[in-house]
Amino acid sequence: MKNLTLRASVALACALSLAACGGSSGNLLLGGSVVGLTKPGLVLQNRTGPLLPVAAGATTFAFHELIGNDQDFEVKIATQPTGADCVLANNKGKSGAYNITSVIVTCVTQTRKLGGTITGLNVNGLVLVNGSDRLDVPAGATSFEMRKVADGAPYGISELPRPTRPACGVQNGSGIMGTTDIGNVVIAC
């Protein structure tokens, strides 16, 4: 009697799962939110399952493969984006009865140094700016470094005009930050 009931319920469960998701092993969504992803190339994976590419700018993700009840999951980063570092939270556990949407991927775009050399600066008062970033440079300085700039962001160094001193020239002052530090900006005074 007991056996019969068990068999019947297993059969029913089987039928339901099959009906729900076309023959795959479960009916629960596995996914979550993505924060700060501005760069391409992120690939996620659940255990040893299929790879899931996540595009730049995405704010959510969900694996195409549904998982079953009471099943272990572990979301992993198969490939980091180019120029950014992502970390996971709430990414490991066992499924219950409900969809899992609590996995959090937090990404931070890498930043690079922005600087260069200065020649002929023998008076105080040089102020270099990269937009709102402002740097006061003392007399005698032969190099400078601005605040770091995010991978892929533009930069443009110019000199704040001062009535008290002649202007210096800026070479290689503008560009797009790439994958390596910038150190070739030349300020010639």
Binding site: V127, G131, D133, P154, Y155, G156, I157, S174, I176
Partner: protein, 207 residues
Amino acid sequence: MTLTFTRPALALALALTLAACGGKATFPVAGAIEGLKYDGLVLSTNGMDLPVAANATSFSFPNPLSYGEVYNVIAKAPPAHQTCSVASFQGRTGVLYNGPTDTAGRFGAINIGVLCTTNVVVLSGTIKGLASTTSLQLINGSDGGIVTAVGTGADLTFTLPSVAYGKTYGITVLAEPADQICSVSNGTGEMTDTAPVNIEVTCVKKT
């Protein structure tokens, strides 16, 4: 139903307050300020004006109100270079501040929020000499992205994202047409209260 309950509760609260402080329930009109950086802010309510100094993080009007008096706090004069609003908002520490107007005694204490933000000023200029159908990219350092202008044969206007008072800006050329050299004049400065009017980008043919 709510009223029938609220009234006795208020009466009780009042009675308790009165009992606690010898018959005189008073409520100072006070609150918190976030973001204030400059002098000049004057708050006003119930016939009182309260000048608030730069960088203040709280305020309290000199004369407390009696139970039942209605208050309506306004920013009568803004601080220099900033705009303040009196509003209900969640403070940085998670405290929920009350809005500008209510009746003294409805809450145990009056705790109004004042939020100040620094004014932003338009950053724009003129492009001269850009050859037709060629494009020019301008930036303000790493702030606010890239503006692309396409030549039409006539002078053009460009606008970069606005800049807060007191911040530096520095407009530079990120990309110019292959056979032109473009240079920026008056493109670097420190933002004042009014938009700079003499920023000019001039493109000339390479020689």
